[in-house]
Subunit: 336 residues, 3 copies
């Protein structure tokens, strides 16, 4: 991840890249919390090209760039884009990369961001290309895991984690499995309906990395000895047979009562938001909101600082951004 | 309205809040007119979240923040938002409030902004929640009234105002009535078709405040002894019976001939834009455009400086923004 | 083009305006390439009002303004605009021009931008009003021509250019013809199907300016002795008779083989992107991408610097922007 690198896939990351990224992210935290500000990227422009809408990912990238002092130009959707007139992604990249210093791109088609990047004259970050990759989400999940369990005296080496829900279609849990392969002695419990089980390739990757994998349909027993419970949503439309869906309804749902009865006291709860808070939803109950181990909003906060760190590393200012630090002059609710 | 306060409703304002706001707004005017600029909020981020589109309100808030030196991240519409996936407003607020220092939010549902604010970690300004509240509009209206009539040697205490048109559904006139209750000896003439009369609660509030209220369907006599004519649009769809609409067509319309014949020389004309300029419209004629008492575009200009003042007060830089003043280096059409 | 001028039409430009613009653009190049940065417009706001979507034109204007240090407030589309509620363009202009220091506007209706500008209190740049004008595109085309042929030891006086494809509906080639009338001894070859021939008025204008005009349907012979080949797309829908379209298919298409066989060695290829890269497209083949004389992406890069120059001239900072130059602190792929 040297200056100028594209960020297209988590597969490009080695363990030392991750460690550099996380150390940089730690240094970004006071800036994200507005205890200080930095103007290091003053004059730089991010092209935030969301050919598929995603409000919070777009704003998280944009705010991260603003927090480093840079400007953001944006686009949402494809209707007004030249792509619909038959322009190739390569031509679009050649044009747009003349307008900014770095591009973050989201696009509904798998592989589109890599194709775009190959013709771009500036670094490109993949903000999600269909069901394929969304590397900054995977990195913020892993960063959250490390931060949460370090506070509990543990490390990712030796981590115990349960992944729950739709493990078949969930892009985030797939990426997390890949990243965990860079670490040692991880115990992974995979909890899902059989129809939505983790694809074999990820299970094998974990095992090849020497990790211990348990596959089950039983929630309660699975969450009793883990550091992290990573919950994902089960969409009923995923079941070919709705009766099958009925059979599983509520069985992978976590609430405070279940947590208290089955989890160790400091087990961390994560989820790749948004969380469906409607009554019929089958994921995290709102009664967990007062539980200090619910880390779901710390995840999105960490997303901001991981993205700041990515920008700083790619644009080669990770070594100097603190030289441009200034005091924050306005009201800061985070420090009162 | 101390540092960190939410701005959700005009009901939260006391008279001294209004006075502080208006004094601050006065100090913002040279900055809005680009006679000077200030960089006091350099590094700060406004989350301009318009879950319902409103181009000019959105841009007015965004420009106001830019004029103080801050950055703006934006969203328009709800399609790409997690709200459609069942996320609660509280969860949305917890996430989005991590990305900015202050949020301006517009949403089609009544009460939604207050609900959002209760979970937000940063101050929230209500940019309009359905038919409920749009406090910055009400404040800019009152600020305009004060500025216009002060130039004519009068004050809001003792104001004489006629409100004309759709007084039943017009959110702006309702809010204005509430704000006028903070002042003394106001004479209010309410001019509308009976079907679109001012709801009883606002009439009672005015009377309880000791104001003199006249209710009428007669335009000409109503505008003869007032300082302000506040006109609003009558949408024909508001009438259950279209024949009823025919009956009233044109009766609440103001043009230069009517103004000259019936109004005192310096009567100020206001309107909560947009004004329908099509031939069949029933509000302010374009022949009033040369009338120096037509204050409708001064209203929108005042909106900018009132919003600057709100930001400065909430973010606690009202006392210091002038310390960051700089000269404007570029062509300024306002000063030639 | 003095400080404060609107840019509505290329017809307002005299030859000395163009020369001033191009000299200013040359001075912008190091800033566009991030060899340096300038903060001269820090504190200024561009209102980038695209009432018709056009991603790259919008982002090019926005980035150009950012590169000079200014902020950008934007709108895309008309749905959320007050225009749909019957507001006149004059009213919209009076309101919006209070929010920014300069406005760039695109709108689907011919003449709309001029109408808007006549009521605006700040300078307005036409970013395209229907099939009428898009002056910055014409200027970037001419700037590209000058830059490319100067590198080949030639000038626009004495230029030899072939325009190919849809010359009837192509706004860009019409504007280019008008601009060429400001120069001397130009030889223009117009190559198109008869149905899509250049309208008589532009041919006459060229001839009145003393230029030599050839009209033909034959591609190969036309491109053999020119400095510039300016290709445009032929949309099959333009033909009333589809059999007619079949007759012409592929006859105005340029690829590397045709280029090598017929063109002089350094003939420059231009195109007003986007280029349709689908197999059935009839314009520039992708096998030209390695040809160093393919200037199509230099055109869009030049668009950025021409727009920077327009902003600098209109806002009267062309004489001082270099005084606010700073070093660029971040990774620059353009200089490694």
């Amino acid at each position: 991840m040297s200056g100028g690198a594209h960020i297209l896939s988590i597969e490009q990351f080695h363990r030392d890249d991750i460690e550099t990224l996380f150390i940089t992210a730690d240094r970004m935290e006071p800036y994200a919390q507005r205890r200080k500000m930095t103007r290091v990227l003053e004059g730089a422009i991010l092209g935030n090209m969301f050919f598929e809408a995603s409000t919070r990912t777009r704003i998280s990238f944009g705010s991260a760039f603003n927090l480093l002092g840079g400007e953001v130009r944006e686009s949402v959707g494809t209707e007004s884009s030249s792509l619909v007139k038959g322009e190739s992604l390569a031509d679009t990249a050649r044009v747009l990369s003349g307008y900014s210093d770095i591009i973050c791109m989201r696009h509904p088609l798998e592989g589109s961001v890599a194709e775009f990047a190959s013709a771009s004259r500036v670094p490109v970050i993949n903000g999600g290309d269909g069901s394929n990759e969304h590397p900054s989400q995977a990195l913020l999940d892993l960063y959250t895991i490390q931060k949460e369990i370090m506070a509990r005296g543990r490390t990712i080496d030796g981590l115990r984690i349960a992944m729950i829900g739709d493990l078949r279609y969930g892009r985030t849990v797939h990426s997390l499995c890949k990243l965990l392969c860079l670490y040692e002695r991880v115990r992974v419990v995979l909890v899902s309906p059989r129809e939505l089980a983790m694809p074999e390739q990820y299970v094998e990757a974990l095992q090849t990395a020497g990790h211990h994998v348990t596959i089950t349909e039983e929630l309660e027993s699975s969450i009793s000895s883990v550091d992290i419970v990573y919950s994902t949503r089960i969409q009923e439309e995923r079941f070919q047979d709705r009766q099958q869906a009925d059979l599983y309804r509520g069985r992978f749902r976590l609430n405070q009562a279940i947590y208290t009865r089955h989890c160790e006291p400091n087990t961390v709860i994560m989820h790749p938001l948004p969380r469906d808070s409607r009554a019929e939803a089958n994921e995290l109950d709102r009664d967990l909101d007062q539980n200090p181990n619910l880390a779901i909003f710390r995840q999105t906060d960490n997303g901001l600082i991981v993205r700041m760190a990515l920008f700083a590393l790619i644009l080669d200012v990770a070594g100097i951004f603190e030289n441009y630090a200034q005091d924050v002059r306005w009201y800061n609710p985070r420090i009162g």
